[in-house]
Symmetry: C2
Subunit: 222 residues, 2 copies
């Protein structure tokens, strides 16, 4: 390491989050309308400055708590962006995370009447502040890729769900229809699912078996 500190300056470090959910048959991300310059009134992804003595993961957890009412979340570091001109005010390095939360855990759903927080569909995005579009597209890509070979979609589902809910989430994320019989066969064959015996009682049709994932890795908030 170089110890000639004169050649260097300390950049700011922020942690920004791409928080996904699925609702109304769409993959959506939580966005915040900025109040101040630069990019006043432009949508941005939630974030905050890294605090002294706070780990990166804890900063991400803090931002999650500040912006959503959820109790647990699937959270994973995504990528670190640091183009010198990405913030016009000063040098800012941002460590980004992506998070998955089930729509059903949002309290109240479509939280309160704040107009500066919104869940927007990732394929119908408005202009975004800074390099947040690049970040969001990178996160979306990662989610799509990872969903195809792992079971992280549990982060988008409530604890108990029907196989048709699970299939629905997959179809929305990978933007392709799946065959019902093959899907169910494959999912049950993984051994990751467990019947929970109970049956839900919604509409005028046969009630479905509810399942849960045997293992889920969440970060607990509080």
């Amino acid at each position: 390491m170089n110890t000639n500190y004169d050649d260097f300056e300390h950049p700011e470090v922020t942690v920004d989050l791409v928080i996904f959910t699925v609702n109304e048959e769409k993959l959506k991300a939580l966005l915040i309308k900025r109040a101040e310059m630069p990019y006043a009134n432009i949508w941005s992804i939630p974030g905050g400055f890294l605090k002294k003595d706070e780990s990166l993961d804890n900063a991400a957890i803090r931002v999650m708590k500040e912006k959503t009412g959820v109790k647990e979340v699937y959270l994973e570091q995504l990528y670190t962006f640091g183009r010198p001109e990405r913030d016009p005010r000063m040098r800012v390095i941002t460590v980004t995370y992506f998070a998955l939360i089930p729509w059903t855990s949002l309290i109240p759903p479509e939280s309160s009447k704040v107009t500066d927080l919104a869940w927007l569909a990732v394929d119908e995005l408005p202009e975004l502040a800074f390099d947040h579009r690049e970040i969001l597209e990178y996160a979306t890509q990662r989610l799509r890729t990872k969903a195809s070979y792992s079971n992280i979609v549990y982060g988008l589902l409530p604890a108990h769900f029907r196989l048709s809910d699970l299939q629905n989430i997959y179809e929305i994320i990978i933007a392709r229809d799946l065959d019902k019989r093959n899907f169910r066969k494959r999912m049950l064959a993984t051994g990751l699912l467990q019947e929970t015996g109970r049956k839900e009682i919604t509409g005028a049709h046969r009630p479905a078996m509810l399942y849960k994932f045997k293992k889920r890795e969440f970060v607990l908030l509080d």
Copy 2:
């Protein structure tokens, strides 16, 4: 974003690299023996402070140039580590990269007579400074995973190589023997390889066809 700067401090940002090569049938990483406290005389991975107006990628490229004589390198951002106590002197966030270079591109092989730079086998590591063991293990894991579903091992091979060289590299990385016929069949079936017609002329045996990868993604240094 929070604009109350009093709660925050600017951490240092460094870029650290795990530089891999394969030599003597082993996966090795480039390490540097630290001269100064803390961790004086302890091995560490190469790195440096991020400079003003320098992108993260460019910082990684700069460190590569400083420590190796190679002209091109496979380079990919790995993960960002930021535990508050990871450096006893001050708060340091490190953005890590992993790099792959072919042993044959090192000039001179086992560069010069410096004793503070060494290529050490990743499964026989000494004590490492800071959290560098964690970083190196994370990088090794990522290399192993990625090698199993992509063709990034081209970064460890010279431009022209024999199929047996390629198989050898894979076997070293995934630490498992592969069937020669299946391996060759599968590799040729990908369509990523191209015969280069020429035949090498080493020992007392049938000369091998040399191949090259049709596409390789390198960062060029200089």
